[in-house]
């Protein structure tokens, strides 16, 4: 029987959760014994090869492209997991949610103290993803099966959670790994 497949993506996040995943160090060898990596920045595979069993999502949705990637994951993944505070709650990017979108863009492209932009235009190339009215946590856009909080969730948390899921065992995370204050 072929190994289950796992896919990962970073939406409006900082790649810190992916770094944390790499931080499992040599245990990555154990992990690849258990799974094959499908679409993921870790192997730089851009497209799904087919259905996968587990999807890990870092970051919330800030642009229409984020939404499309997330929906693509939802269609391909049997189990979809929100990883980290941005995916589960919006995180740092969601700090813009209290500021109207036009003001955000003007600050970034026109009025910011270090901005040099003689035309004063806000970028409007059709290739540039459009920002959403606010940053959404993933579960407000698609159904999410599990949540792994933390900024980032530690390597141990990620490893133990994934292994438990693959082996169909209950997660037994020690208190230190899920205590955040």
């Amino acid at each position: 029987m072929s190994k289950p497949k796992i896919a990962t993506a970073s939406l409006a996040g900082c790649f810190g959760c992916h770094m944390s995943l790499l931080d499992i160090d040599e245990r990555i060898l154990d992990l690849v014994e258990l799974v094959d990596f499908d679409k993921s920045p870790i192997n730089d595979l851009k497209k799904f090869t087919g259905k996968v069993q587990i999807g890990l999502i870092e970051g919330g949705c800030s642009t229409d492209e984020n939404v499309q990637v997330l929906r693509d994951f939802r269609r391909h993944c049997e189990i979809l997991i929100s990883v980290g505070d941005c995916a589960t709650q919006g995180g740092i990017p969601a700090m813009r949610n209290t500021v109207p979108l036009l003001e955000c863009l003007e600050e970034a492209y026109c009025n910011g103290p270090t901005v040099y932009n003689p035309s004063g235009a806000i970028p409007n190339d059709p290739e540039v993803p459009l920002l959403l009215d606010k940053v959404y946590p993933c579960h407000e856009v698609v159904k999410i099966d599990y949540f792994l909080p933390g900024c980032p969730p530690s390597a141990d948390t990620l490893f133990q959670a994934i292994v438990a899921l693959l082996k169909n065992e209950p997660v037994d995370l020690p208190y230190e790994l899920i205590k955040y204050d």
């Binding site: 229409d64 269609r75 970028p123 409007n124 540039v128 959404y136 159904k143």
Partner: protein, 605 residues
């Protein structure tokens, strides 16, 4: 603040003995005279009463009828409840808005008019209705709005709008309201002739304990809806230690669809005051307070006059009816538009000059109520029953109704029926019998007990109105087949969200979540799993809220889900792809697309 206002406020504070517990009277007085309670006014009131300014501001900000901002000379408050919505609320709102040239919650630039909506004002049998300052205007339609506003523009006095006064005491010179009583059925207890003093004379011939025993033998239970045995409440209060004791009458009839107390207050005030006096005698209280909802301010002068007459006849005051040592008097405390003040501990807070926040229980008012003294709080109708029990005897009273629910019940009937109004019926009447009595032929759903009660369908129409089956404070709203059940539920949730006092989280936040989910379902964005969400959230709010408001506010959703599951199911669908139906990508990028000048973007997955 000019000198005149300063001296008005100072005098007002003096007339209340500079008693901080009379804060409500003072701020209502200032609002009435100046259409606002300004920051300067608050400072002055605080100084006069020896209160911190924040206590004054806190109270002013709590009550809907009070405001820090300047309101217009005429404040038009259109009644917003489901019955008014069924009878043209939207059209009338639009008509007012066009006539006045302002939107909701705005004041005309000339300062003449403020336009607002308000929760049920107790006129569902003559809806749509509105308050113009304290004047009630009933049976509004979009044609009459034009004439009303025209006439008010000429002369900013809403009282001139009352061309034809209503029946009974609505035509009394001190009332002069266009309100109709619509008493459709007179039973033996409330709506029979009553000679003031008749019951009191018999009561004072008994010992206080005998009076309580009579009330217990009559098996009288509270008419506000909860049905607590009245005699037991009195016994507790009598037994409680306290130098002073108080009797309070809850006339804060705020449950949407309820208006029977309004009719009792209009037609049988002596029956109420006599019941309160008997209660004072029974538990050893010297003072009574009737808490009158702000919406019924038009009855205030009439009720005060009735109290005056009772004093003159020796039925109130010192040594009542010559009984040495029995002194009792009653004052009326006006409310200012807060549903929560119908909750007995919130009502006590309001009488104490505080925000109408409920208090923790225990201690119950029977131990520590008004100002910390043992207090009996009963409904208007309950006190009327007491008068009759003492007048005609406990046995006579207990003959009516059922074993567990003796006597009669006043029902306020409104909605889809030919004869809306007040019905005095014996407990134990079935919904079928009631519907026939009121001329409702094609009934699909009945809301019993107002929004905090339950919405039932045809399968339950053989059930009976009594404390052991369908308990009610008196509201019965009737809906035909063509009414949208979820629209009804939505109106009730809007109401609860608005009226939550905000003290405890389950009620403040939970009701908003319920309302939001319901709106999503109505917009076609609901999923089957939402039913479980509504149920578990609703149960949580009920179990963890601090007072009766949150303990009943999920009822519209929970009971309609139980009795009208199809109303929900037909709107729910599962998204096969696992997307959240509540997220709309086009809507979410619309602003960015506009800023970028892209026009509308279509997203295909």
């Amino acid at each position: 603040m000019n000198l005149a206002e300063r001296s008005f406020i100072t005098k007002l504070c003096q007339s209340c003995g500079k008693d901080p517990h009379r804060l409500m009277d003072i701020i209502i007085g200032v609002q009435g005279a100046y259409a606002r309670v300004s920051g300067d006014a608050m400072n002055l009131i605080a100084a006069e009463l020896g209160l911190p300014r924040v206590d004054v501001e806190s109270a002013v900000s709590f009550y809907q009828f009070l405001s820090k901002e300047q309101k217009g000379h005429v404040r038009i408050r259109l009644c917003d409840d489901i019955i008014d919505r069924m009878y043209g609320f939207d059209r009338i709102l639009k008509a007012f808005s066009e006539e006045l040239g302002i939107g909701l919650n705005q004041t005309t630039p000339d300062g003449k008019f403020t336009f607002e909506t308000t929760a049920c004002i107790g006129m569902c049998d003559q809806a749509p209705a509105a308050l113009m300052n304290n004047v009630v205007v009933t049976n509004l339609n979009s044609d009459s709005v034009h004439d009303l506003v025209e006439s008010l523009r000429k002369n900013l006095n809403p009282e001139q709008l009352v061309k034809k006064t209503g029946n009974g005491n609505n035509s009394h010179p001190l009332v002069r309201a266009m309100v109709q009583n619509n008493i459709r059925r007179r039973g033996p207890v409330i709506f029979q002739d009553f000679t003031p003093g008749e019951a009191l004379r018999k009561g004072l011939a008994m010992s206080p304990m005998e009076v309580i025993r009579s009330v217990k033998t009559a098996r009288l239970r509270g008419r506000g809806g909860a049905g607590f045995p009245t005699g037991m409440k009195w016994e507790f209060t009598r037994a409680a230690a306290g130098d002073r004791k108080f009797i309070m009458c809850n006339a804060d009839e705020g449950e949407p669809g309820t208006f029977k107390d309004r009719v009792i207050l209009t037609e049988k005030p002596n029956l109420i005051f006599e019941g309160m006096t008997l209660a004072g005698y029974a538990i050893g209280a010297g003072e009574g307070i009737l808490y009158l909802r702000g919406e019924y301010t038009y009855l205030l002068d009439f009720l005060n006059e009735t109290l005056k007459e009772r004093r003159a006849s020796g039925l109130l005051g010192k040594s009542i009816l010559g009984k040495d040592g029995f002194d009792f008097d009653i004052r009326i405390q006006l409310g200012a538009g807060a549903y929560i003040c119908g909750e007995e501990t919130a009502l006590i807070s309001s009488c104490e000059g505080l925000r109408g926040d409920p208090k923790n229980r225990p201690p119950f008012p029977a131990q520590k109520g008004y100002l910390g003294y043992p207090t009996v709080v009963n409904n208007v109708e309950t006190f009327c029953c007491v008068s009759r029990i003492i007048e005609h005897g406990a046995g006579w009273f207990a003959e009516h109704g059922t074993k567990g629910s003796s006597g009669t019940k006043l029902l306020s009937v409104s909605g889809d029926c030919r004869m809306p109004g007040v019905y005095e019926v014996p407990f134990g009447i079935s919904i079928h019998e009631l519907l026939e009595m009121v001329g409702a032929d094609d009934t699909y759903a009945v809301q019993i007990g107002g929004p905090s009660g339950q919405l039932i369908g045809r399968a339950d129409f053989q059930r009976t109105i009594c404390f052991d089956d369908l308990a009610t404070g008196g509201a019965v709203m009737i809906f035909d087949e063509d009414r949208d059940v979820l629209e009804i539920v939505q109106a009730f949730m809007d109401f609860f969200v608005h009226e939550s006092c905000g003290y405890c989280t389950p009620c403040r936040v939970g009701n908003v979540l319920l309302k939001k989910k319901l709106e999503e379902i109505r917009a076609g964005k609901g999923e089957p799993s939402d039913l479980e969400y509504l149920k578990s959230l609703g149960e949580t709010i009920k179990a963890t809220s601090r007072c009766g408001l949150g303990q009943t506010s999920p009822n519209p959703i929970l009971t309609s889900m139980a009795h009208f599951p199809d109303a929900y199911l037909k709107l729910l669908h599962e998204d096969k792809q696992g997307y959240q139906p509540t997220f709309d990508l086009d809507e979410a990028v619309a602003t960015a697309a506009r800023i970028a000048g892209h026009g509308r973007v279509h997203h295909e997955d």
